[in-house]
């Protein structure tokens, strides 16, 4: 291995030490759009105020692009100081391999277990009793968005739930309006889960996804869900299916489509367009059937470092992310709900307030899908649903059976 040595010598003689200043932390994340970047800026500002330096390492393209990069960097021995990563099962291997910083000490000292809510978020950061990540916000995916003007122009009262939206579809179609806009890919899976929650109910959703109750997955409650999806696919013209979720939301904003099912992040799109909730558009949690809130959210992990200065800065960053001021400033920009109940959110918009109300009651709050089942299985479910939506020859019964088979095979 002559070449090997030669290159190694050459490399070490020239390579620059990456982190000369130990208080500089490179942070990788995939928040690159306007609102997201503004939210990150709040973190950066607060972190710089602690005397450290936030070095931004944004990589667009959600987790799919960033994940291999993040894992490679950790594996290659040149990890970033902190990184966004999906909560739940994604990081389990990295934790098991001892590559992630244990934050338990800080979490206990600051009493995260009591100041952060809901419990499920901190639990998804906890493995074998130790805390490995900081939850920074809550996002929920169970919302229906409707353009009031479109319905009023058609002489229909704006629907207040899923069934009314379906009922109004034929009249809208006649007028050349898309009754329900849809984006290709994972939004199909999101719509499926939202309908499960709305039609089969939260308890049954959790029973199937978390407890793997197979009788239920193959039973009549879920058959009703697939029936509803069948209705939805009948009213969607394949030519109107768009590539990305924000294209589908844009159709509603422009009045070309009447309704869309999407997470609370769609609220930001309406806000940018200058539309007001309750006047120009409606946001209906739980698709208007029953107000519920799934608790997905963003978390930050801190890859282990040999440098005590870096470790110190990592703890400072983790602590900063859950302080009251930062939680408010960050979440208002991000359009998500804060992790703390003890903060003032009078500046929040109507949709966020609806969410907070559900959160405060705490009864209809349930864990995010990725906390209950692995991403690989979720993707397989998406595959089944995508096919079901685009190929009308697949019967609801067949799709339900394929769905159940994936749940059954999913690792516990």
């Amino acid at each position: 291995m002559k070449l090997n040595k030669w290159i190694a010598v050459l490399a070490t003689s020239v390579a620059m030490p990456l982190m000369a200043n130990a208080a500089e932390l490179e942070v990788t994340h995939w928040w690159t759009s306007g609102g997201e970047a503004a939210a990150v800026a709040e973190f950066a500002k607060a972190f710089d105020a602690t005397g450290n330096k936030w070095v931004d390492g944004a990589i667009a393209g959600s987790g799919d692009v960033a994940r291999p990069i993040i894992i490679s960097r950790i594996l290659g021995g040149n990890p970033m100081g902190a990184t966004q990563l999906n909560p739940g099962k994604d990081a389990d291997d990295l934790i098991a391999a001892g590559l992630m910083q244990d934050l338990t000490e800080l979490a206990v000292a600051e009493d995260w277990a009591n100041i952060l809510r809901p419990k499920s978020q901190l639990e998804s950061c906890t493995k074998d009793g130790k805390v490995y990540c900081v939850p920074v916000n809550l996002h929920s995916g169970q919302w229906m968005w409707t353009n009031r003007k479109v319905y009023e122009d058609a002489g229909i009262a704006p629907p207040q739930n899923w069934a009314e939206m379906i009922a109004a579809a034929p009249a809208l179609k006649e007028k050349g309006i898309i009754p329900l806009s849809l984006a290709e890919g994972w939004p199909v899976g999101l719509l499926t889960e939202d309908l499960i929650v709305a039609i089969a109910g939260v308890d049954n959703y959790v029973a199937v996804y978390q407890d793997r109750n197979m009788e239920l997955a193959r039973g009549p409650e879920f058959a009703a869900v697939f029936k509803a999806i069948d209705e939805a696919r009948q009213i969607i013209d394949p030519k109107t299916v768009v590539p990305q979720w924000n294209d589908a939301v844009a159709l509603v904003i422009q009045g070309k489509a009447a309704a869309n099912v999407m997470g609370d992040w769609a609220g930001g799109e309406f806000a940018v367009a200058g539309m007001v909730a309750g006047k120009d558009f409606d946001c209906l949690p739980g698709l208007g059937v029953e107000p519920v809130l799934g608790t997905g959210g963003d978390v930050f992990y801190f890859p282990k470092s040999d440098d005590p200065e870096v470790t110190k800065a990592q703890f400072a960053m983790a602590s900063m992310m859950v302080t009251k001021e930062v939680q408010v400033a960050f979440n208002l920009k991000k359009g998500s709900l804060p992790m703390r109940a003890d903060v003032d959110l009078s500046a929040a918009n109507d949709c966020m307030k609806k969410g907070l109300e559900i959160l405060d009651k705490g009864t209809k709050v349930f864990p995010n899908n990725s906390q209950m089942i692995d991403r690989d299985s979720l993707n397989q479910i998406n595959d089944v649903m995508k096919e079901f939506f685009s190929d009308l020859s697949i019967t609801p019964e067949a799709a339900q059976e394929q769905f159940a088979a994936i749940i059954e095979a999913a690792p516990k």
Partner: protein, 300 residues
Amino acid sequence: MAMSSAVAIDPSGAKPKPLFAPGRVLIYSLLIVTSIYYLVPLYVMIITSLKDLDQIREGNIFIPTLKPSFDAWVKAWSQACTGLNCTGLAPGFWNSVFITVPSVIVSIAVASISGYSLAMWPFKLAEWCFTILLVGSFIPYQVFLYPLVIITREMGIYSTLYAVIFVHTVFGLPILTLLFRNYFASLPNELFKAARVDGAGYWRIFFRVLAPMSLPIFTVAVILQVTGIWNDFLFGVIYAGPTNYPMTVQLNNIVNSLQGVKEYNVEMAATILTGLVPLTIYFLSGKYFVRGIAAGAVKG
């Protein structure tokens, strides 16, 4: 490199014929019609980059705007934001140059010499390796990501420019080696024999005899590598380390950002700007596609 030792050779064929002979008209018509198919998407990209967002939302993608504006171009080059850094494509430009130039040179040097060894001075081990390389050219790149992280880490070069040069050399190797091996194999055998009779050795034959008559294939290799390496995003971002991020990282951030208003005009401008470097190389290297090099060298 071999390209620089180019000997100026005049085209030995006749000068271009007059434009209006009947056969000529047919040839030019065909060329122009096919050109339209190739140009339509570029046309769409350019006119889109000159529109503002309202015009894009309401207008037809094929209809040009009456009020063209270069704002999107300025934004793409120097203002577009990625997370907190609102610096556009510009800062990554030099990193891309520092990655592309050595990677192109090293990968072509390694592959052309390997191809030469295989074509002219073959031995068993090299031939076996070549077979493996050919099969290897069909493996999706993604499969190599993690093993290469480990290999470059063990070599002590992970997260440096050397790692990304090494990786580009690895991925360029199958196709380039094949390209050179086959090109050298297609040259008239007498040339090689004559040089051997004259007492020329391995390197002398390569540099003095083969390289000068292989300019078209070196040009193709440069086109292939410059494009691949310049447009690469994944290897740059994984192996080069954050201080060496190429401009495609920024391009990805502009094109792949989801939330907020999609700025199609900035996307298109950023794309064209990023593509300008390979395009310029194509145009400049064109003169090395000259007819009659082989004949000239034989007689020379």
